[in-house]
């Protein structure tokens, strides 16, 4: 295991491994391997992430979806050393450019990675910005700190970033305070601050849930454009499967602290294999019949205070096999890019298919879209108009 020595000054030269040349698209960039993250709660131990593994490749967007409380945010925060104080990575590795980030012992080491290499955009932009400082100064300071630029250079960079994220009149906006920005503009400012540091990896934790769909569309297009221009990799956490369909190259599905299925976007939407993924897709309101109950998974997720035996989803899975209650399933490969962690894929398991609603997902959604006159072909459109004008108060 390579480790950066503790005594290297924060602003000093980074360890050689972190300075390596840019990666070719598709090359492995960051990987969590068998990561276990626990929290201590008044003397009790809660295990939020249970031997989860995840890979992020250069230039790709990986969407992480799954159960509320399944460990998505905790896993993402661990990649930047931002866990709450009562939590820590107990075992497993986070490999980035040959360095195991999980072995870091102090802030000094993390400061070399956080912001400059791996940056994060949180759901609530208000908490990310200091209300007492102008938006422009905050972006400038981030750039100065992480890129070692002087005042003039970092200011120029901050202005350029504001422009890049589509904020009009950047000179005037630079000097405004957060409360003078609307929600959508604030979120863009936070993204500007994140990319001003020139990170290789951008982690977005539900960056658009608080925004209306038109501003959401702008911000998603913005992230896509920046990714293309700057060659960033994006880890995108969201519950909105529409956003996933728009953004993701690959998708990882989490349940009870583990990744249970992963694959290319089309593989996950059109050929899902894990019963939890089926249940998730079947719960979409687009598949519901008005006036009737929506499909929802019965029961509650397991308590994370206790050891989980077998497949964590088994107690809620009507199709569970006997083995599910006894042994944890391994991953079964379905294609070089698609795998799922369920005994259903074992050759000895009885043949079991995805529920009909899930298989009909594609046609149902296309129908609903056409009825609304909004989706895909035949929709009213104005050519060449991707982005609406900036939101005004």
């Amino acid at each position: 295991m390579t480790r950066i020595k503790n005594d290297t000054a924060a602003a000093g030269p980074a360890a050689p491994a972190l300075e390596a040349a840019p990666r070719a698209p598709g090359e492995l960039l960051l990987s969590a391997q068998d990561l276990v993250i626990g929290f201590t709660l008044r003397g009790r131990k809660l295990t939020a992430v249970r031997r989860a593994s995840l890979e992020l490749r250069a230039g790709e967007t990986l969407a992480v979806v799954g159960e509320s409380g399944s460990g998505k945010s905790v896993l993402a925060k661990s990649l930047l050393g931002m866990l709450d104080r009562n939590g820590r990575a107990e075992s497993g590795r986070i490999m980035y450019r040959g360095v195991d980030l999980a072995a870091f012992t102090g802030e000094k080491e993390w400061l070399k990675v956080r912001g400059s290499r791996i940056a994060m955009v949180f759901q609530d932009p208000m908490t990310a910005l200091n209300p007492l400082k102008t938006v422009g100064e905050q972006i400038r300071e981030a750039a100065a700190l992480h890129r070692g630029l002087d005042k003039a250079a970092s200011r120029a960079l901050a202005l350029d970033m504001l422009k890049r994220v589509g904020i009009g009149e950047p000179e005037r906006r630079y000097g405004q305070y957060p409360h003078e920005f609307s929600g959508g503009m604030l979120q863009r400012a936070v993204i500007a601050a994140a990319i001003a540091c020139g990170p290789e990896i951008l982690i977005c934790d539900e960056p658009t849930t608080a925004l209306d769909v038109t501003i959401q569309a702008q911000i998603l297009d913005l992230i896509k454009g920046l990714q293309r221009d700057l060659g960033m990799s994006v880890l995108f956490i969201t519950h909105d499967l529409g956003v996933v369909a728009k953004m993701a190259d690959r998708i990882a599905v989490m349940y009870a602290g583990q990744v249970v299925e992963e694959g290319l976007s089309r593989e996950l939407f059109y050929d899902p294999r894990h019963p939890y993924t089926w249940a998730l897709l079947a719960s979409l309101p687009q598949l519901g019949v008005k006036g009737e109950e929506l499909f929802a998974i019965k029961g509650t997720p397991p308590s994370l205070f206790k050891e989980i035996k077998g497949d964590a989803f088994a107690p809620r899975n009507p199709m569970a096999l006997k083995v599910d209650f006894e042994h944890e399933p391994p991953f079964f490969d379905l294609s070089p890019t698609h795998r799922a962690k369920t005994w259903l894929l074992d050759p000895r398991a009885p043949a079991m298919e995805a529920p009909d609603t899930v298989k009909r997902l594609k046609s149902r959604i296309a129908d609903a879209g056409r009825a609304a006159g909004v989706a895909g072909a035949g929709s009213p459109e104005r050519p060449g108009s991707g982005v609406k004008k900036e939101a005004k108060r």
Binding site: Q286, I297, T300
Partner: protein, 309 residues
């Protein structure tokens, strides 16, 4: 849906600041909410949705207009008895679950607070049973009762807010983005719960949300708001199948679809407020374009938008 509105809002205006810095966030909004109805409020961030909810909750004073609960005016000062009644009967689930939960109280107390205030239980056993039921209904484990808000994920915190509001057994629930942080399946569970309470207890909802696929599924009627004014209001399916106002069309076109192939080919409609070209004497008014389908338009627009069937 019954004929008597349980809540009527008429010409509501809300202002922030004063003098030259005054800003009118809600600029004359009118709608009615009926018993066991779900009316959704959708629209741009910053258009005034939360402000309307907070004005009904009497957190913000109305600068003009009226808010009536069962026919009685509640905007402005009311008697102590009425105040107490309103504080139980009208509940709001606040948009930001992080800011709206008391960080120093355990979940058990947060969910029970209203029960204590209004003595909604006869003994400790009944209180605990109510808390447990409220937590289970929103998919949370009873063991969570002894933990603090910051020890939960975003979606778990949001559900604590829902459990707390429902435990009060309100008549009207103003739900401001109540399920934005939930995964699809728990979202479905909460939607089913809200619909069940509507059937069983005749609960009415003013539902504020950005997720239009949820709004379409859950609503009886939908109101679209833009810059503090309603621009369209119609029965839910009608609004999706026959949007009239260009802002509504733009909004619907931006809804992301959970299908990668559809998303790839999708085109957005853009709304340009200047496109109306309203001139003096030609101002738009709130008109019933089709039965039960209202839109903010001038004469010419009304003709154009409803032409050709």
């Amino acid at each position: 849906m019954s004929a008597e509105p349980i809540l009527s809002v008429e010409g509501l205006k809300v202002r922030f600041g004063s003098g030259r810095k005054a800003f009118e966030a809600v600029r004359g909004v009118s709608f009615e909410l009926y018993r066991d109805e779900t009316l959704s409020l959708v629209g741009e961030s910053g258009s005034g949705k939360t402000t309307i909810g907070r004005a009904i909750m009497r957190v913000y004073p109305a600068a003009a207009g009226s808010v009536r609960y069962r026919g009685r005016e509640i905007a402005g000062k009311v008697g102590a008895e009425e105040e107490r009644l309103l504080r139980q009967k009208i509940q709001m689930i606040f948009q930001d679950p992080m800011a709206s939960l008391n960080e120093r109280a355990k979940i058990d107390y947060i969910v029970s607070e209203g029960l204590y205030n209004f003595k909604l239980f006869k003994d400790e056993a009944e209180r605990l049973a109510k808390v447990e039921k409220a937590l289970l209904e929103v998919g949370l484990l009873p063991e969570f009762a002894s933990r603090f808000p910051h020890e939960f994920s975003g979606g778990q915190r949001q559900r604590i807010g829902i459990a707390r509001a429902l435990a009060m057994e309100p008549e009207i629930l103003i739900a401001d983005e109540p399920i934005s942080a939930l995964d699809v399946s728990i979202r479905a569970q909460v939607i089913n719960l809200l619909n069940k309470l509507k059937r069983d207890r005749g609960l009415s909802y003013l539902f504020i949300a950005h997720d239009l696929s949820v709004v379409r599924f859950i609503s009886d009627r939908i109101a679209v708001i833009h810059l503090g004014r309603l621009v369209e209001l119609a029965p839910a399916e009608e609004l999706f199948e026959r949007p009239l106002h260009p802002y509504t069309k733009a909004l619907l076109s931006a809804v992301p679809v959970p299908d990668p192939d559809e998303e790839r080919d999708k085109k957005l409609v853009v709304y340009d407020p200047a496109s109306h070209g309203y001139e003096a004497g030609d101002a738009p008014a709130w008109r019933e374009a089709l039965p039960g389908h209202f839109v903010l338009a001038n004469e010419a627009e009304l003709r154009d938008w409803t032409a050709g069937g």
